[in-house]
């Protein structure tokens, strides 16, 4: 049985339905990428898992437990941490405090601590006392990832980690992923940069309009299929 899986997941914003029966699965230690056009529902999927949106019970299972109806703090305590879209650093907190707040709800047993994060992203150590928002976009993204890791999660959900970042910075950030995987964590990433997604993921889901339209391992997916799914040209 997969570590984390959704079955026919639906999600709503008021009357607006954003997800229509999404099935995905994530195994222990695996990295999965979710790609798709703007508004496809990728973020909604992660928000559902992390408890930011409450779902119909029974549609999300983690480690054999039903979590669809849990609130975000409870989900975190079970070991699912999220790096939200747009980084969402706390402006009133310094870099180090932003990292420390990641430990507020769960410490977990694992390798990650302040020093570990500073080893992973050395540039953060130099700027630890600055307000988080004074950093460049890439550095902010590093803080956001570090903050997620501080709770030593079993699953790390990353929404659009390369959003709006220069390619070099994206490379630095992705260089960290193997080290994160090495600690045994499973990862879900959402990525606009298809090339990056294919490089880092064990498996890929492509979403469109609230549904999974394509899935498979990077090797089995052709670039054309993905492009088609991505831009919706021949999707139906």
């Amino acid at each position: 049985m997969a570590l984390l899986e959704t079955h026919g997941l639906t999600a709503f914003y008021g009357d607006f339905q954003a997800l229509f029966g999404v099935d995905i699965a994530l195994d222990e230690g695996e990295t999965v990428a979710v790609i798709g056009a703007n508004g496809a529902g990728k973020s909604t999927l992660l928000r559902s898992i992390s408890g930011l949106i409450r779902n119909v019970p029974g549609q999300i299972r983690f480690d054999g437990r039903e979590i669809g109806a849990l609130a975000a703090p409870d989900v975190l305590q079970l070991g699912i941490a999220m790096v939200p879209e747009g980084r969402r650093l706390f402006p009133s907190l310094s870099v180090e405090e932003n990292l420390l707040i990641g430990r507020y709800g769960r410490v977990g047993n694992g390798a990650w601590s302040l020093d570990g994060i500073y080893d992973l992203f050395p540039v953060l150590k130099e700027r630890r006392h600055q307000p988080g928002t004074a950093l460049s976009g890439g550095q902010q993204q590093m803080v956001a990832i570090g903050r997620g890791l501080m709770s030593n999660p079993r699953v790390l959900l990353c929404d659009e980690v390369s959003l709006g970042l220069a390619p070099v910075v994206v490379r630095d950030i992705y260089a960290a992923f193997p080290k994160i995987r090495a600690t045994g964590a499973s990862i879900v990433i959402i990525e606009q940069d298809i090339g990056q997604a294919l490089k880092v993921a064990d498996r890929v889901y492509c979403m469109m309009e609230g549904r999974v339209t394509l899935s498979g391992t990077p090797a089995t997916l052709s670039r054309e299929d993905i492009h088609a799914a991505y831009f919706g040209a021949h999707a139906r």
Binding site: A37, N38, A134
Partner: protein, 239 residues
Amino acid sequence: MPILALDQVSKSFGALKVADGISFALEKGEALGVIGPNGAGKSTLFNLITGNIRVDAGTIRFAGEDVTRQPPMARCLAGVGRTFQIPQPFEKLTVFENLLVGGAFGSRKTEKEVGDRCADILVETGLYPKANQPAGSLGLLQRKRLELARALATDPKILLLDEIAGGLTEGECQELVETIRAIHRRGVSIIWVEHVLHALNSVVSRLVVLHFGRVIGDGDPQTIMASRDVREIYLGIDV
């Protein structure tokens, strides 16, 4: 004389430079597309043009007049119409009333004078069946159409469209393209920020590429789409 001209426009949010010496001009009746990665500063550029955000430096001229220090309502009255990327409807008003606000205030007329035109715009944008519902009850796609309709109601000389095609099906997308073309044919200048490139390219005759608040490309769509920068930075296709 260009209808809109930006000269060395700059804006930072704290340490983050979102517009870094942007200069370009738009001729009357031209349709311009703006592309660039997320966070490149496209929506911010719109906010600077409309006055919702004040520039740090540089000048913006509209129809020959310096509007850099003018508030948004003045620019709207002068003829700048816009949509918001995240739709901003007047939620408690009906769809029709949303347009009436735009019509009555945006073109300095009475409600009576603009009523018919607003109703026609509702038909044109396909919102007519929802006319008397509160805008808060609309789904996202309809909200985006409402953005377009409300901007049209202000009778703009230039229309700024921010990602209004995202999430449409092929057929809907085609319809939208037709609508925008029709607007363009009426002599309205257009700037369109869009990630759905095939839709964008079937309307615009020129593309500007933004990256980190800088213009890194400006020219006709074929050349731009073929350029190395765009393929690498924007499409994420290895060159």
